[in-house]
């Protein structure tokens, strides 16, 4: 009936956010979300195992903070224009994460943080190629990704 | 009038729609079932059309159908009058033979033939019935979309190339249609034809000019559909490339444009300040079309093109004659329209059978060509026809009949039609009405020349196909393919014999068309079901 | 006073967004390569989405919200298809 409870709950929330909260819409939203989650069940996606879902808010907080920070950083680079001396470049980061959903989350984090972009994941070597706008210290970035995000994600998902 | 009878008005649209939708539930392999559904739908359609035809000719028939029960200028209305009933009957009459013909072999040449066929009928009937300009656009699109599909039914390089041109031109036309309709809406504030006819008198100044521009653009669209030179170059290619049954039913497609022109020019532009808008275009364009069609008829080597150019001649004749704006002649033109539609349909159906005999391998080749390059088409049964004794004789008689009809020779209805128009122009019906204008002489000359050209071409083609090359080989023809052709020709014969009653109907039709007030009145004052007060205009109608 | 600020900030923000769209359009026409154009289209979509939201604030109606939601939720489909076309030469394999 409900293969993905978390998803169904989110869909109900989305429904309510869209329509406003009434009892009728709660019921309707539940029906729709059940329907939609059947749809997703048909796709048979790799089912993520959320071990420590309570860590999610922390992750969200960290990411929001980082995004603000890098927004400012990138904006300042761009505003300074030609005077800015920044060196952009590629870097490869080895990853331990295996779960596709976790990888997706990581990629979303990396890419939506201005200044870093997830380019290519290699499943054999399990490395990811990242492009960084301001690649001053490569190790710094690597540590950021592995320590700050990957570790947390490993904790949540695996 | 009882309730159910009133709902008959919408049946010509709903029956094919439901049939077409129903057909979607069945797999292509269930051919018999699909064919059955299609045939039943066509028969039902014919029954309904005849019923409406009968009703439309009776006095006091309420032919206005308020869709959604909304009063007239606001909702969409369907209107059955003599003209639309005539067109409905013609379409349904044409549908049955072409469908039967297609059942012999062509319906398996591609996917979804029956659905598309039904939708085409839906579009045609909708275009005939609707009393609303934008709804007309929608049904034009339904009809055209289905015709695109049908034209390319069976695929093949020729058809697809022709289809590309056909679609491109018609898409451009559709855009013009939209511009025209919206310009009319923008300047008159209504989409209902009857309401438009009412309002048109009050519109002045720049708004009138915009309205006329919109109407002109709309006219261009209908002239493209009707095939007026020089907007008709798509037609020969498209019609001659289509498979026989499709070309057969296409015979009525070019008449839709004529129908709309007739309807709008007499309803909206029949009286008042914009009266006679564009009549000269019709007259001279029609004459140019006859000339071009005649030239094409002469220049055609392939029978398919000959038939397509005959469509142009027929369109041109109708346009030119409508351009004269003379009641008697218009009645003759209606008769001619019926006759030439049946003729051309019969001819298109016949061509395929005749050409099948020209080359012994042709029929097999046609089949393999259809199936070429396609992995998932099951093999056609090769033995599609049986060599019948007398096949050639029957084919020959039918071919001769088509030639006679096309060239307007007696004794078939082509002659009566031509005579009816000519006599309205120069004969007894204008006796003593002063000198005959030069344009009439031109039309008469062109009509005679076009008949002559058809005669020359048809003898040339007939001799080539029947006497010079068909020796020894007898085409394989099924009774199911021959019967529709014979039926259509028999219909023209019946039309000849019953010319008197038929012409009476046409004359009555023209009379109703020339008095649009009754039409307008019927539409605007149509009663809403279940609403106590007569469905007058609402608050914002301003009528 | 606060109202004036609001009016000005809305105007300002619309101007910024439109300017951003102009820049994206320039990039779109300049290229130099297909991926730049696709990215420019994506940016154009995003900017229009924001513009519609600001327009909603300006008119005080959230009728236009769905339009922005459509861009936010579905706008990427077109870009994904374009990107995949660049990468693989066809969209659906």
């Amino acid at each position: 009936m409900l293969p993905y409870p978390l998803l169904s709950a989110s869909l109900v929330l989305m429904w309510l956010a869209l329509n406003g909260f009434t009892l009728g819409h709660l019921i309707l939203g539940c029906i729709v979300s059940v329907f939609a989650s059947w749809g997703v069940a048909a796709l048979r996606p790799a089912k993520p195992r959320l071990r420590k879902w309570y860590l999610l808010p922390r992750l969200v907080g960290i990411v929001l903070y980082d995004i603000v920070r890098s927004n400012i950083a990138v904006a300042s680079i761009l505003v300074r224009g030609r005077k800015a001396s920044f060196k952009s470049g590629f870097m490869t980061v080895p990853l331990d994460l295996q779960d596709p959903t976790a990888l997706a989350v990581l990629s979303v984090i990396v890419t939506s943080t201005p200044g870093t972009a997830w380019l290519e994941y290699n499943s054999l070597s399990r490395t990811v190629l990242i492009h960084v706008l301001d690649l001053v210290e490569e190790e710094e970035w690597r540590r950021l990704i592995k320590g700050r995000y990957e570790a947390l994600l490993m904790e949540i998902f695996e | 009038m009882s309730g159910w009878q009133h709902h008959l008005i919408i049946a010509p649209i709903l029956i094919p729609l439901a049939a077409g939708a129903l057909l979607l539930f069945f797999d292509e392999r269930e051919r018999v079932l699909k064919a059955m559904i299609s045939v039943v739908s066509c028969l039902a359609l014919a029954a309904v059309a005849f019923n409406l035809f009968r009703l439309a000719a009776t006095d006091g028939f309420d032919g206005v159908y308020l869709l959604g029960n909304w009063p007239a200028p606001f909702g969409i209305v369907l209107v059955v009058d003599r003209l639309s009933a005539l067109m409905l009957v013609l379409a349904s009459i044409l549908a049955i033979p072409t469908l039967v013909y297609a059942l012999a072999r062509w319906h398996t040449a591609g996917a979804h033939f029956h659905s598309l066929f039904q939708f085409l009928l839906m579009g045609l009937n909708g275009a005939f019935l609707t009393g609303d300009l934008f709804n007309l656009f929608v049904f034009f699109e339904v009809m055209l979309a289905a015709s695109y599909g049908l034209l390319m039914h069976g695929s093949g390089s020729m058809r697809v190339k022709a289809g590309l041109h056909y679609i491109a031109v018609n898409l451009a036309a559709a855009l013009c249609f939209l511009i025209g309709v919206s310009a009319i809406y923008g300047s008159a504030g209504t989409l209902n034809m009857a309401d438009l006819a009412l309002r048109i008198g009050e519109i002045e100044g720049e708004r009138r000019m915009l309205l006329e521009a919109g109407a002109g653009i709309l006219g261009v669209v209908f002239l493209i559909k009707a095939g007026m030179w020089p907007l008709n170059f798509w037609l020969p290619g498209a019609y001659s490339a289509a498979t026989a049954p499709v070309a057969g039913i296409f015979a009525i497609m070019s008449k839709v444009g004529i129908y709309v022109i007739l309807r709008l020019s007499l309803l909206v532009f029949g009286q008042g300040a914009s009266a006679g808008l564009g009549l000269n275009v019709l007259l001279y364009g029609g004459m140019a079309t006859i000339a071009f069609g005649t030239i094409g008829v002469l220049a055609s080597q392939a029978l398919g093109r000959l038939a397509s150019y005959s469509v142009l001649v027929s369109s041109g004749t109708l346009l030119a004659v409508l351009g004269l704006n003379n009641g008697v002649v218009t009645a003759g033109a209606l008769f001619y329209m019926v006759s030439s539609t049946l003729t051309i349909a019969a001819f298109f159906l016949l061509i395929e059978l005749v050409e099948r005999g020209q080359d012994a391998g042709a029929s097999v080749l046609a089949v393999t060509m259809e199936a070429y390059g396609d992995a998932d088409e099951e093999e056609e049964e090769v033995e599609v026809g049986v060599t019948m004794p007398g096949t050639i004789a029957v084919l020959g008689i039918c071919f001769a009949a088509c030639g006679i009809l096309l060239s307007g020779l007696p004794p078939l209805s082509g002659f009566v039609a031509k005579f009816a128009m000519l006599t309205g122009m120069i004969g007894t019906n204008v006796a003593g009405e002063g000198p005959i204008p030069a344009s009439v002489w031109w039309i008469v000359g062109l009509l005679i020349l076009s008949g002559l050209a058809a005669l020359i071409s048809m003898t040339r083609a007939g001799i080539r196909t029947f006497w010079a090359s068909m020796e020894g080989t007898v085409p394989r023809v099924l009774v199911m393919e021959m019967a529709p052709v014979m039926l259509l020709i028999a219909l023209t014969l019946a039309l000849t014999i019953q010319a008197g009653p038929a012409m009476r109907y046409m004359e009555a039709t023209v009379q109703t068309l020339q008095q649009p007030a009754a039409y307008i009145d019927a539409v605007i004052n149509a009663r809403r079901a279940g609403v106590a007060e007569a469905g007058g205009p609402g608050g914002g109608g301003g009528i | 006073m606060s109202h004036t600020i609001l009016v000005w900030s809305i105007t300002f923000s619309q101007a910024c967004l439109v300017l951003a769209m102009v820049l994206a359009a320039l990039r779109m026409s300049r290229g130099p390569r297909a991926q730049d154009r696709v990215l420019a289209l994506d940016t154009l979509y995003a900017c229009s989405m924001l513009l519609m939201m600001v327009f909603g604030i300006r008119t005080g109606k959230d009728l236009y919200f769905e339009a922005s939601l459509v861009i936010g939720m579905l706008g990427f489909v077109a870009t994904v298809a374009l990107a995949k076309f660049l990468m693989r030469g066809e969209v659906i394999e």
Partner: protein
């Protein structure tokens, strides 16, 4: 039996017999067919004869049947003395010809067909004779053309027969059309098509300004039919017909129809100077030329054909004179000519039949073998030559008598006696030649059939009968033909019937001297020219090269084929671009001309009104549109992207100008369209800028023209839309919708209420369009064959696959798997979200922006996304969409919702809306329009998915070799 019934029978019997003969198509029924045909012809003869009492002395029988009374076209059959005489001729000779043909036709010929055509022809001929309505007359007139075509081409494997038949049909067809036009003009003048009325209105006709028009048109009809110069040449070519056909058509019927017509309209049309000149010139020249040509023919039938032409010229000449006596002579000669010419044709047929040739150079001395036939032929040709005591003599005497009279005092008058005598001499010469060369002289040497002998008696019988008639009429004219002729004359001339006497001997007078001169001169002429004629080529010396036939064919080919083809290709086109150019130009013309005529001047825009942000947005839009136009040739993807830019501008415009529904719909459609075009892009050929940049001058000017057209269209559209937008909005129907949408339509979103309620019918049509297009796309793609150069996988994939293949640790497809690994996760998780959103759009449509269409496309995008994420196989492994079912369901749902109203007594698509109170939830709006919208939704999902997926399938299909489930997108 009443006269009316006989009239009907006379016209119907032959056609009935003709139809009956077609049933006897089996070849073994030849005798049966002949008997039936003979029976029918004889019955007609008897029936005609039975009518004599009624028509004697100027009486007439008339029958009116309604056919097309409004237009004055009725089946009026009418028999008077003249018609009676002619009908007797038609049926009588018809009987004889049938009898003759019974023996003439060979075993191999499909005889029933022959008799069928012959009877039909006889019927048509009787129709002409009996028509009492001039339009009906032209009906039968055309029928004779058609059936004569079929008869002449009876041996259609013979090219000469085909050509001859076609020429006959063409010429007489032209004549027929002209005749019809002429008769219509006559109707215009008189005000009726009734023959009696027309004949009575002679003075009115001749005084009318359109008299000449009518006359010329009618004369063209008559003269073509009667093979008069310059339309004569079809007749000799028609000799390829079987001899019975020639005997019938060219003696008594077909060619006589023309002169019959002249006689018929003689009271109404003749007597004017125009008549005299036109008919006279044609008649005299035909008379002379026909006789002259006849002398030099080597073909027996050719000689007879030209002689026929000449004799018809004689009749025409007589009719041209306008004097009653001449008309009598004409009628009389028509009868006489029919008798002797029919017998001569039959005799020629026997000769041909027995010897196998008709070439006079090969025939000689046949009298020994065919004594009886020879004798008969001699008598008949003596009649043709006008030898006394034969019928030809009497009518020729009358002709000569008339020739010396003065009629209109013109040059024609003065030459007529000489011409008549000369033509008489020629006719004597060829008659002698016919007899002398065939029957006398040395025995024949190289006959194809070496031993000719007399034919069976019944085959000779018709000739015997006719020759007897010649003799009887020639000896005792007033006792034999006299009364009949008189009633015929009476019916034509009425009060103007002159005194005339049918006698062999009128004393020695000028005509007799002319006759003698002609006889002696003709004999002398023949014996002078005998040796030349025995060897010379076919055709007369001066005109041998200049045959009408050749000229006609050349002209026909030139006009109807070469010129037509040239004109067709120059007035028409088979390319698309000119057509679109014309459409654009036509639209521009009709759109702009009214503006110009009305002196439209746009109001200058007030700058302050322009919202700068909106202006900038449109700057972007215009920029993108122009960019797309510029890039579309070489940089397709760039054009597509720029098109997207133009699309987003449109969306913003919709938002800006208060149309949220449109914005949403446009956006989703935009997305789907982009994907669609991309799917298609894969199959288009590579195009690089370098290859074809050699621009010719023509191409450059073409481009310039297109550019001008495009700019003017753009400018015109700008003006037009500016004018219309600046127009104060008319008192539109809109306010009704705004007022009633909630109270009666039950929805707050007026646009949606219009779509599903006020104008729901439009929406139904629109979804039908979508369904049709989806079906068409599917049908077309099932037959899709990619061009050879795009069958291969795209370059990118080849490179990537090669890369994967090169490396042992990688398996094929690793690159793409990695590429999509992360995105596909997100795309999968978006699936339920998008579905939810689509349902949201669907359900709220009635009150707020959204609706079934936007929802449906959104749903389709949800599916599309999965295809994008995982590819066809992956997606179809997991989700089975049955698009056709969705479509069928959607259409039926929409239709069923509409039909639901019937059960409540309302018209189709009447909606019903109400607030329903549900427990816990409260009042919920429930409108049947929602069901309609669900139908729309389902259809849109089905159709969009079908289109996209069918297209996507092509990539897979091409790489799969004939696997059984290929192309079955409907099942996936």
């Amino acid at each position: 039996m009443t006269g009316e019934l006989i009239l009907v029978l006379l016209v119907c019997l032959p056609f009935a017999g003709s139809l009956a003969a077609t049933v006897l198509l089996r070849t073994d029924s030849r005798v049966l067919a002949a008997r039936m045909a003979g029976g029918v012809a004889f019955a007609c003869l008897v029936l005609t004869a039975m009518l004599y009492p009624a028509v004697r002395g100027g009486g007439r029988v008339r029958l009116d049947l309604e056919w097309l009374p409004q237009l004055g076209l009725d089946v009026t059959l009418r028999m008077d003395g003249f018609a009676w005489l002619f009908a007797m001729l038609v049926t009588g000779i018809g009987c004889l010809v049938v009898l003759y043909a019974r023996y003439y036709m060979s075993e191999e010929d499909p005889v029933p067909r022959f008799f069928s055509f012959l009877l039909a022809f006889m019927g048509s001929m009787l129709g002409i004779v009996l028509s009492g309505n001039i339009i009906l007359l032209s009906v039968f007139w055309e029928l004779t053309s058609i059936f004569s075509f079929l008869l002449i081409s009876y041996w259609h494997n013979n090219a000469a027969a085909r050509d001859g038949a076609r020429m006959a049909l063409t010429i007489t067809g032209i004549g027929g059309f002209c005749l019809l036009a002429g008769l219509l003009v006559l109707g215009h003048i008189v005000g009726s098509y009734d023959l009696d009325v027309v004949l009575a209105a002679g003075d009115k006709i001749k005084a009318h300004p359109l008299y000449l028009t009518a006359l010329v048109l009618i004369l063209i009809g008559a003269l073509t039919k009667s093979a008069q110069v310059p339309f004569h040449f079809w007749l000799p070519n028609a000799m390829a017909a079987p001899t019975p056909v020639s005997a019938y058509l060219h003696s008594a019927t077909m060619v006589k129809a023309g002169v019959f017509l002249l006689v018929r309209f003689w009271p109404a049309l003749s007597g004017t100077y125009e008549w005299f000149m036109l008919v006279g010139i044609a008649g005299i020249s035909t008379l002379l030329l026909g006789a002259y040509f006849a002398m030099f023919q080597q073909d027996l039938k050719g000689l007879l054909a030209y002689s026929t032409i000449s004799h018809l010229g004689l009749i025409t000449t007589l009719l041209s004179l306008g004097s009653p006596v001449a008309a009598v002579a004409a009628i009389f000669h028509m009868m006489n000519h029919a008798t002797f010419k029919a017998s001569l044709f039959m005799a020629a047929g026997i000769i041909d039949h027995e010897t196998g040739t008709r070439d006079m150079r090969r025939l000689s001395g046949l009298f020994k073998y065919l004594p009886i036939t020879g004798t008969l032929a001699m008598v008949a040709s003596a009649a043709m030559a006008g030898v006394p005591l034969l019928n030809g003599f009497i009518s020729k005497e009358m002709f000569f008598a008339e020739a010396v009279e003065t009629h209109a005092d013109s040059v024609l008058d003065r030459i007529l006696p000489y011409v008549a005598t000369l033509a008489g001499a020629f006719s004597v010469a060829y008659s002698i030649r016919f007899i002398h060369m065939v029957f006398f002289g040395p025995p024949p040497t190289d006959l194809p059939k070496p031993k000719p002998h007399e034919p069976p008696h019944w085959m000779r019988f018709p000739i015997e009968f006719l020759v007897l008639a010649c003799l009887v009429v020639g000896v005792i004219p007033s006792l034999s033909i006299g009364p009949f002729l008189h009633s015929a004359v009476l019916s034509v001339l009425g009060e103007r019937t002159p005194e005339y006497s049918l006698a062999v001997w009128h004393g020695i007078n000028t005509p007799l001297i002319m006759s003698m001169i002609a006889l002696l001169g003709g004999a002398a002429l023949y014996f002078v020219m005998k040796d030349y004629l025995a060897k010379c080529d076919d055709g007369p010396p001066l005109f041998r090269q200049l045959t009408g036939q050749r000229i006609f064919e050349r002209v026909l080919v030139t006009v109807s084929w070469k010129w037509a083809r040239w004109l067709e290709s120059n007035l028409g086109t088979r390319s698309l671009q000119p057509q679109l150019r014309l459409v654009a130009a036509a639209g521009l013309l009709v759109g702009v001309v009214p503006l110009y005529i009305a002196g439209f001047s746009p109001k200058a825009p007030v700058l302050g009104e322009v919202d700068p942000i909106f202006a900038v947005i449109w700057g972007i839009g215009a920029f993108c549109a122009l960019g797309a136009a510029y890039q579309a040739k070489y940089h397709r993807l760039a054009a597509l992207v720029l098109l997207g830019g133009a699309g987003i501008t449109t969306c913003i415009t919709f938002v800006w100008l208060s149309a949220p529904d449109l914005a949403i719909t446009q956006l989703v459609v935009e997305i789907v369209t982009t994907v669609l075009l991309l799917l298609g892009l894969r199959w288009l050929p590579k195009r690089s800028e370098k290859v074809d940049n050699a621009v010719t001058l023509a191409a450059r000017s073409r481009r310039f023209r297109d550019f001008l057209l495009a700019v003017s269209c753009g400018f015109g559209m700008f003006l037009f839309s500016y004018a219309i937008m600046k127009q104060p909005v008319p008192d539109a129907i809109a306010s009704y919708f705004l007022e009633k949408a909630y109270t009666e339509g039950g929805g707050r979103n007026v646009v949606n209420v219009i779509l599903v309620d006020f104008r729901g019918f439009d929406t139904m049509g629109e979804i039908a369009v979508l369904a049709i297009v989806a079906l068409t796309v599917f049908a077309l793609l099932r037959r899709f064959r990619p061009a050879p150069d795009s069958i291969e996988k795209p370059e990118q994939q080849r490179i990537q696959n090669a890369y994967d293949d090169e490396r042992p640790e990688r398996s094929a497809g690793d690159t793409v798997r990695d590429y999509l690994l992360v995105p596909s996760v997100i795309m999968q998780w978006m699936f339920p979200v998008v579905i939810t959103f689509s349902i949201y759009l669907l359900l709220r449509g009635h009150d707020l922006p959204g609706g079934g269409f936007a929802g449906g496309v959104t749903m389709a995008i949800a599916f599309l996304l999965q295809y994008l994420a995982g590819g066809v196989r992956w997606a179809e492994d997991r989700i089975r969409i049955l698009p056709l079912r969705w479509m069928g369901f959607g259409l039926l749902m929409a239709a069923a919702t509409g039909m639901g109203a019937w059960f409540l007594g309302y018209p189709f698509l009447t909606t019903y809306s109400q607030y329903v109170a549900l427990p816990f939830i409260g009042k919920v709006p429930a409108a049947t329009a929602l069901f309609f919208d669900i139908g729309v939704f389902a259809l849109v999902v089905g159709a969009t998915v079908l289109i996209l997926i069918a297209l996507a399938h092509q990539s897979v299909r091409m790489h799969r070799v004939r696997s059984p489930e290929a192309g079955k997108a409907e099942e996936t």
